[in-house]
């Protein structure tokens, strides 16, 4: 590609100070590494284990994410250099983790959702480095690195032991199918990041985005509170049958609910936190005073912190604990798996709020650092031109393999259906662009929507919907 000459950003204005974040991140990374190292040495375990390597990758990805974001906010070019170094180190650790697992199991790490995430994060980091070095899109890491961090944290919640391959997975097609899937998903993630960059670069008003984000978050929490808030501030969740890995039923279609005391209040507070920016937005519109919007931005930030606290509390209190039920005597266990929709909603809320904060960086000097909006738009399109054939290949090989294993190339399994939906959404993007000439903002929204569907297909379907495609 010859876009390099055009994409090279204009030299940033001379960095003013700006060592504070470097020092802070450096100290943070060093501190975490040393404490981890001390812990590992003290317990006398093997240093070269997959979880240690993954921890190192996590620390460096997080450091890189913080630096990329710092670059986004302050425009200090130095941050980017250190951020890419941090990404590269994280990538090396990630590669070693993949290699370690591959060596231990004697097959590529493609067999469970944990291993899929491991490969996905690896591909994502690789593409980030490629996009940065080859296309000069330096800030892309500020979106892909937080995504990588979220994935690595998610991996900690998943069973990670090396399991032998069940008979259905013993096929060469597994490798072809999964490699194509990882490549296409990661390419979609890059196109999403580029589309976000476009929105940052493009001069569009963030107010409507503020309203939409706050409405979404408030809607999520309103839904949870309206259906699950119990008297005296408890939160009712489905009881979980640990042995059979299913919800506990009282009768036909009637699930047994248990009440986690006090947790309900936290959700109410989070709901209020999401409503504040929405109210401020309407006040700003009514009084035509943008001062309210600035307060609203701060309120969004506070809202994210609140959501994080609620999420942490929810995870801690739901995981492996037993509570009383108002419907039946005795204590019943519950689990994160019993409340997939609450968990999914909370994560989606945090992600949406973070996206809004990123749009707020649309500062003048940042705009100088980014390639032109036109280039971003074109590179987004090119990425999707790469992702789409990969997606097609993934679906075709999946169908071929399914035909050899289940005796049918298409059985409308949720995973299949959602892969087809993803394909259709990107096909829609290409049609709109080629025949209707959709460029710029509308195309960017479409690319963002497409990645949302990809994430649902990748993770949402596995956690929320039952089906044949149970391994990942």
């Amino acid at each position: 590609m010859s876009t390099r000459a055009r994409v090279t950003p204009i030299e940033p204005p001379a960095a003013t100070g700006g060592n504070a974040l470097l020092v802070l991140v450096g100290l943070g990374v060093a501190f975490l590494l040393i404490t981890a190292l001390l812990g590992a040495v003290k317990s006398g375990g093997n240093l070269y284990t997959e979880s240690n390597l993954l921890y190192v990758a996590l620390i460096f990805y997080a450091g890189a994410g913080a630096l990329y974001m710092g670059f986004g906010v302050t425009g200090t070019a130095k941050y980017v250099n250190f951020a890419s170094i941090s990404t590269a180190i994280g990538f090396v650790a990630n590669t070693l983790a993949v290699a370690h697992r591959w060596y231990m199991s004697g097959r590529p790490p493609f067999a469970s959702i944990y291993e899929m995430l491991l490969s996905f994060v690896w591909t994502l980091a690789l593409l980030t480095l490629v996009a940065e070095k080859k296309f000069g899109v330096k800030i892309i890491g500020s979106i892909t690195m937080p995504l990588a961090v979220v994935c690595v944290i998610l991996m900690q919640l998943l069973p990670s032991e090396v399991r032998p391959l069940v008979p259905a997975l013993q096929s060469t097609w597994l490798h072809v199918h999964v490699t194509l899937a990882m490549l296409s998903y990661a390419t979609c993630a890059v196109s999403f990041a580029l589309a976000m960059m476009f929105l940052i670069k493009d001069n569009f008003s963030t107010e409507s985005f503020l309203a939409w984000t706050s409405t979404l978050v408030a809607g999520i929490y309103l839904g949870i509170v309206a259906t699950r808030f119990e008297r005296w501030g408890g939160l009712s969740v489905t009881a979980w049958d640990v042995e059979h890995k299913s919800d506990i039923f009282l009768g036909r279609g009637v699930r047994l609910f248990v009440t986690i005391p006090e947790l309900g209040w936290l959700f109410v507070i989070a709901l209020l936190g999401a409503l504040v920016p929405l109210v401020l937005y309407f006040m700003a519109r009514a009084k035509n005073d943008s001062a309210y919007l600035r307060i609203a931005d701060k309120a969004v930030f506070v809202g994210i912190l609140l959501q994080l606290v609620v999420l942490a509390a929810f995870v801690m209190r739901t995981k492996d604990a037993a509570y009383a039920s108002p419907f039946q005597e005795g204590l019943y266990p519950t689990s994160l798996a019993a409340s997939p929709f609450i968990l999914g909603g909370m994560v989606a809320g945090i992600f949406a709020s973070l996206l809004y904060l990123m749009l707020l960086w649309r500062r003048n000097d940042l705009q100088h650092l980014l390639p032109s909006a036109d280039t971003l738009d074109r590179v987004t399109y090119k990425t999707i031109c790469i992702a789409f054939p990969l997606l097609t290949g993934m679906i075709a090989t999946g169908a071929f393999w399914a035909n050899r294993t289940w005796g049918s190339y298409w059985s409308w399994d949720p995973k299949e259906t959602w892969a087809a939906i993803t394909w259709l959404v990107y096909a829609g993007y290409l049609h709109m662009r080629v025949t209707r000439g959709w460029r710029g903002r509308r195309a960017a929204y479409f690319a963002i929507l497409g990645f949302g569907v990809v994430i649902f297909t990748f993770l949402g379907v596995t956690y929320l919907l039952p089906g044949l495609h149970a391994y990942a």
Binding site: S2, Q170, R252, G253, T405, G407, W412, W418, A420
Partner: protein, 493 residues
Amino acid sequence: MAFNVLSIPKRIYKTLANLRTGVVLLIIVVVVSALGTFILQRPVTEPEKMQAAYSPQTLRLLDRLTLTDVFHSWWFLSLLVLVSLSIIFVSVERFPNAWRFYARPYRRTDAHFRSANPYKVELPTKSAEQGLNAAERAMKKLGWPIERIADGSEQSLYSEKRRFSVMAVYVIHASLLLIFLGGIIDGVFGYSGFMSIPQGQQRNTLELKNGKKKQLPFFVKCVSAGQENYADGSPKKWWSNLAVVADGQEVSSKQIVVNDPLIYHGLRFYQASYWIDGTKIDGLRIGYAGLDSKVVPLELKTGQPVELDANTTVTLVEFLPDAFVRDGQVFKKSDSIENLAFGLDVVNRADNSSTRVWLFPAEGQVVGAENLKFQFQNPKAAKDIDFAPVTGLEVSFEPGQWFVWAGCLLMGVGLFAAFYLVHMRIWAVPVRDAEGRLVLWVGGAANKNKDRFEQKFSELIDEICSEIDKTAPAARISAQEQPRHELKLAGVK
């Protein structure tokens, strides 16, 4: 205007041929399919689970709306047919224009085109022939195919590469239709079902997905079947040795495993599951001792009596995979193979008495043999018990699948051509410029990846310039007076 009956088909055609209708249809398909993944679907989900998940009223409503089997409902099928029609009609509407462009390439430029084309350069030249010759040599050198166009006395050059890629988009849509066609053929003529065959037996009845039965014109025999486990006990491999028996003759045989089916006359037999018949034992090797206390080996099979002496027979009558004893009574605990128990009936014809003896190999226990003159010994090892394996076969007949695979390959070709092959064109025409000087107008066009083309185009221009310089040093002076060539990139995105 009066209502015109004849215009209805035309109107339907016009509506479906509109891209907007196509997009609306696709959005409906997306929404409905998403709905179909959120609502539990029959027949994949067992009726009990459906009843556990929804209240009776909700379930009745969902069933009545066929939302519990979205993907096989008539309206979803009609939706897909409408989408196919829309793809066909939209393509038919657009095809003639594209075909004209493809079949009759734009070889001769006119003044209007020359001034509007974004990629263009005007190179000073002494004579028309000299300029054209230089361009021809340069193009040959860089691998551009050359066509000399003669329009009366005026000559020009035209070159293009990969014209095919402009038709790629039709290839993609045709491949999609091919895939749909395969799906429809399978929907109409194909069938799939399940077959379970105990080891050593043959069957020809297929249980179809809709609960009906279908007779095959031949028998499938399970010669043997088994399971291999990993060290941790999870299954590693299921296998079955199958044979096809037609008119009493074995016509085909194969060992199938999970990813490798047996194919006979278009029917595919897949290894889907494997289990052990919980009521039957093919061979149980135990020992028994008579009055002389000498232990003799004995092999029993479910239901087949074996003579112990002139008056006494023993029959293996019952097998419990998981059992326990309480107060001298035997109870079944579960269906999984845990604590085996074998029930033997010892019958004495002389006094017409029958005694039930239970063997518990796991605990080495024998229950109920206290009053007999015979002693029984438990089987010593796992190899002393031949379970009766049953293989579960998924059977499918999909004559349309070859259309699907052909469609997939064609789509691969189409996508490659559409995204990565660039249709590039070059024109070279000697013309008079604005000041009346003779120049060689060189223009180019590409239908995608303009950056790359820009590079190729300027490479070609450099080459033409050096060719002109070589043949006519005189031209150099005029070339130096003004910028040799300038890329005008107005309007290039």
